[in-house]
């Protein structure tokens, strides 16, 4: 029939190569609702709770007046920054090796080493660490057996033990984030730089590092944010005289029944963490971030 070219209008909509604008938000709706229920509402509740009835700043002044809380905040940030720095250095080496290695054995060994602490329970991980670190532990015995050292070393209940414990827990997170970041970098760039006369170190530092900067920053942010909230490790491996803020928050809730004080401590912790992250972004430079992202 000659009239068959007439479109069957009304029955089918015209196919469009792009999805309509509303489909994105709609598909993300379950996630948005979850985030609202489990993240936004509790956080807002915590901030409101920290002011008590009306606009009562007493919990904040109490926090600032308390030497213990100020010290705990400093310890939390100091240890978390050390953990972040160590995790990024060690993690970058491991992640870059995972990126470039052609050896299946090395890859398997590295992934296993990453996966084991990642999959272990928190208490088991820390208990294992306490066996390693205690005065009669493995580390101390090795130290004793070395020819150029003397006596035992005892790391348990010290800030060093806390840093080691948190590092052990968070290194897998760092490595996985870094592997993802490094996967977008062509390893051939190293060879290209070397062919132009750069040493291997120079090539890695001035070619790969800037390209990886956003990924490294993201991994660092992840590690830092996870680290400042640590509770079990400081309790099990650290001493009562150098607690993390999370430990004091626990005491505020369960021993002193001070929910307002605990909310204020939590708010201060989060605000301080955001300040640190913004500072980190400034150090890396927004321009470099934008360039690397695009």
């Amino acid at each position: 029939m000659t009239t068959s070219a007439e479109p069957r209008s009304g029955r089918t909509t015209r196919w469009r190569p792009e999805m309509p604008a509303w489909s994105g938000p709609l598909l993300a709706l379950p996630l948005i609702v979850m985030v609202a229920i489990f993240v936004v509402i509790p956080l807002v509740g915590m901030v409101i709770g920290s002011f008590g009835e009306g606009f009562d700043l007493s919990a904040y002044t109490e926090f600032l007046e308390s030497a213990a809380q100020r010290k705990a905040l400093l310890i939390t940030f100091r240890d978390s920054l050390i953990v972040t720095a160590l995790a990024l250095v060690i993690g970058s080496v491991v992640a870059w090796n995972l990126r470039v290695t052609t050896s299946r054995v090395l890859r398997a060994v590295l992934w296993t080493a990453v996966a084991i602490p990642f999959l272990m329970g928190v208490v088991i991980k820390n208990y294992a660490m306490s066996i390693v670190l205690q005065a009669n532990g493995i580390l101390s015995r090795i130290w004793e057996a070395l020819p150029f050292t003397e006596g035992k070393i005892n790391l348990m209940y010290t800030p060093t033990a806390v840093v080691i414990g948190i590092l052990y827990s968070l290194l897998p997170f760092g490595i996985m984030a870094l592997v993802v970041a490094f996967n977008s970098i062509d390893p051939e760039l190293v060879r290209a730089a070397e062919s132009l006369g750069a040493s291997r170190t120079r090539a890695l530092l001035s070619v790969i590092l800037p390209l990886g900067a956003p990924g490294i920053l993201a991994a660092g942010a992840l590690i830092f944010m996870l680290s400042i909230g640590f509770y079990v490790t400081p309790v099990m491996l650290g001493g009562a005289d150098a607690p993390f803020l999370a430990t004091l928050i626990q005491r505020q809730i369960f021993i002193m029944y001070d929910n307002q004080g605990a909310s204020a401590s939590g708010t201060i912790l989060i605000v301080a963490a955001i300040v640190v992250l913004v500072a980190a972004v400034c150090v890396v430079g927004t321009r470099r971030l934008k360039r690397a992202m695009s």
Partner: protein, 366 residues
């Protein structure tokens, strides 16, 4: 400082959290059998006990409550709530639905808080009279029967130091008794110990002179290498010689001694922690619950077997006759140990808990 207004609100918040918890728990606890006593005044029904769970509840069931059930026909059901007994009681009271009739062996810091908070029933006079037949009067508090007592003692590793302190005063004497120390991360126990060392007599100790106690603790603070919080941790630091001496949990200290550490244990100035069996205020079956406590008091053989299994204190001194002397002489209630120990005023602690804990945090972590 915390204002009274804030404190009130805080309490409301806790109870609100508690009420929510109870709403969750109500589902689990439902389906219990009839808990009312029978009509003719005879005991009957079911007694629900808030307990510690695990091996503790197993031993209590086997040696103390099963004989009671056999004798009276009243069944006893345990609900595990280790460490959160008071929080649960607060929640039940708030919700107006009391699920428990009694609480098993609650440590005094919590038990006296429960009493001060109004969650524990006052002991009726007739019950007290009957209990006094089996239990020494000083083992009965206004609301409960002291049972499962714990104690803190002065322990010292004789292979690590030349001179070992044998009492609180010597423990605080750094000049004559040098060495690294460990003290429990529990303010009320540590402060009591400090005042003992400072020469305060037990009958003059409460209300406590907190300034004096903290000042005394300050004198040895630098030598305290570990403020331990868990029993495991205490055993490990003593066994691995991380500290030479400490204010130690008695049962744990004997454990370490049995494992081969040259630990000297002194009961002079020991601190007695009276755990409490008590009946819950507003319980559905209080008569049977009191009868259960009386039955435990009147069962020295069961107590002896229980203490042998658990290494905690007993309430009926006759129980010592059924026990191995080695085990008996290690218990906080053993006359020689009890006589030289001090029983702190936990009611005073419960009333001043917040201030004590706040100052403690500043002292240890500040």
């Amino acid at each position: 400082m915390v204002t009274a207004q804030r404190r009130g609100r805080r309490f409301a918040q806790i109870t609100a959290v508690g009420a929510f918890t109870v709403a969750l728990l109500a589902g689990c606890a439902g389906g219990g059998s009839d808990t009312k006593p029978t009509e003719d005044g005879k005991l009957g029904g079911n007694v629900i006990v808030g307990g510690w769970g695990g091996r503790f509840t197993e031993s209590t069931t086997k040696f103390l409550t099963d004989p009671f059930t056999k004798e009276t026909g009243v069944t006893v059901q345990f609900v595990d709530a280790p460490g959160e007994q008071v929080a649960r009681l607060a929640a039940m009271t708030k919700a107006g639905k009391i699920e428990w009739d009694a609480v098993d062996s609650l440590d005094p810091s919590n038990a006296f808080s429960a009493y001060v908070g109004g969650y524990a029933a006052k002991m009726p006079d007739d019950v007290r009279k009957r209990l006094e037949k089996y239990v020494p009067a000083e083992q009965l508090t206004d609301f409960g029967m002291t049972y499962s007592a714990n104690a803190f003692v002065t322990g010292c590793n004789t292979s690590m130091v030349k001179a070992c302190p044998t009492n609180p005063a010597e423990f605080f004497d750094l000049k004559n008794f040098p060495g690294d120390r460990a003290i429990i991360d529990r303010p009320f126990i540590a402060l009591t110990y400090a005042l003992e060392a400072d020469g305060v007599k037990p009958d003059e100790m409460f209300p406590m002179d907190l300034d004096r106690a903290f000042a005394k603790l300050e004198t040895i603070k630098d030598s305290v290498k570990v403020w331990y919080s868990a029993g495991d941790q205490m055993e490990q630091i003593v066994r691995d010689e991380q500290v030479a001496m400490g204010l130690l949990w008695s049962g744990r200290a004997y454990n370490v001694q049995d494992q081969g550490t040259d630990l000297q244990i002194s009961w002079d100035g020991g601190i007695y922690e009276p755990g409490q069996w008590f009946v819950v205020e507003g319980a559905k079956n209080p008569d049977a619950a009191w009868a259960l406590i009386e039955s435990i008091a009147a069962n020295p053989k069961g107590q002896a077997e229980w203490a042998t299994a658990m290494s905690y204190g007993i309430s009926n001194p006759e129980a010592f006759d059924y026990m191995d002397e080695k085990i008996a002489s290690r218990l906080p209630d053993w006359p020689a140990n009890f006589e030289t120990s001090i029983v702190p005023d936990f009611t005073w602690y419960a009333e001043n808990r917040e201030e004590i804990e706040k100052r403690w945090t500043e002292f240890v972590s500040g």
